[in-house]
Symmetry: C2
Subunit: 253 residues, 2 copies
Amino acid sequence: MPTDNQPVNRLSIRAIDISCKDCSLNPICLPVAVNAVQLVELDSIIKRSRPLRKEEYLFRASDPFHSIFAVRSGTLKTYAVSENGEEQVTGFYLPGELLGIDGISMNRHTNFAKALETAAVCEIPFDKLEILFAKMPTLQRHFFQLLSREIQSDQLLIRLLSKKSAEERIAALLMSISHRHTRRGLSPLGFRLAMSRNDIGNYLGLAVETVSRVFTRLQKQGIILVDGKEVEVLDLSALSLASDAYELRAQTA
Amino acid sequence: MPTDNQPVNRLSIRAIDISCKDCSLNPICLPVAVNAVQLVELDSIIKRSRPLRKEEYLFRASDPFHSIFAVRSGTLKTYAVSENGEEQVTGFYLPGELLGIDGISMNRHTNFAKALETAAVCEIPFDKLEILFAKMPTLQRHFFQLLSREIQSDQLLIRLLSKKSAEERIAALLMSISHRHTRRGLSPLGFRLAMSRNDIGNYLGLAVETVSRVFTRLQKQGIILVDGKEVEVLDLSALSLASDAYELRAQTA
DNA sequence: CGCTCGATTGACCCGAATCAAAAATTGTGG
DNA sequence: CCACAATTTTTGATTCGGGTCAATCGAGCG
């Protein structure tokens, strides 16, 4: 199965060096906001570093904030840890999606960001970005929208947690992932879940056992076919129905 | 009981005309961000209109977005309505708090904002604000922080919904309101809940009956004293404990 | 003063958590 | 490459928090 999770080899090195202009993800990452000239300028401030290996951190809570990040390949999760030490997964990030804006308010990150598999990111220093804003008002608008969209999607999750059953939550997550794959031009019907059942349960406010049971239930209903982390959607409209038409976000921060 | 919810009379007219400089809420509304000169400039773009009566809307979902609002007096709630028609309360807004930033991403509001009691607001046109940003970088930073803080507080709510019991949720809400009163220099121990039990339940993902039961339970435990909408906190530390040390946000959007 | 709507209380039920154990994967070292 | 250990996932049995349904009880108000 072809994947855009580049292993750490020559291919990935090439991927690191690619510019925004040539990046297949740029329509997701920077929708409409900038013209060709501006793109070059934006490109010039972006840092591309070596890929993260599975389990490595992109940043940690309390790290000083100075950049936001765009996922180039692989998957990351973010999670917060409360005083009493319990973790709350706050998001999953797929290629083309942005993370790290949690740090703006405190000037420190409040979440941990960890690679769920080998992953490459683009780093966008925030101070440089702010300077660009002055020159490129559309970019600034775009960034506001990004923050605002993040709020939107949090509120979708709130709705999910506040009103939906276990089955609806899981169906919504699967729909979301399917949808995000589509955006990248991939099939909406087959994908690999990089995150563990535990992560899913934590994110959706469910016990691991429940997650597992719902997967098998959806499979028995002929809606999906699960094999470990591999998921095949057999009946997309039924899945959509089961999620009660919930579109669980195009992830951002 | 003295209150800053101005009725529609001469007093409220005075309140409308007051400038940011003289507003007792300005330390909450605009923390640190601006100096005296800048304050005058900011003041000049703010529109103050007649107070809303109970049940009146400040804005509605799908309204074009052009302003954000600061609450001067009274309480508002925001809520979203999903395709299938169900409502989700997304926040309660007390004096000094900002709302309306939900509209930035779509250029339309996605929430309804309704007065829970007579309420006065300051309107801040966003296009004018953006122009000020260019002149006042600190104000811009401040605004980013506002958005980011909104995300933070949504994530606290997510944690609450995802991991906490009914009792912990309600205790957290009461702690939050108490805390927000304190910020305005009021007593943390006594306040009036402007919202209905229904609103509380909807916000916290609980049935009305559960809200009611938890209130009586907390009362039986000697932690609070409830009389309809009036709440007296008898044991703040016990309440804090019951909320599992959850600080449910300083509201913003 | 009666009516309506919100709040409370009780009885019952159900979905999902918890506890327990087996099964499947993944990783590790010889 | 295989055997063993550790982790993750699945399945089953049981429990329990909170939802639902129904009835009663106010409080505001026309």
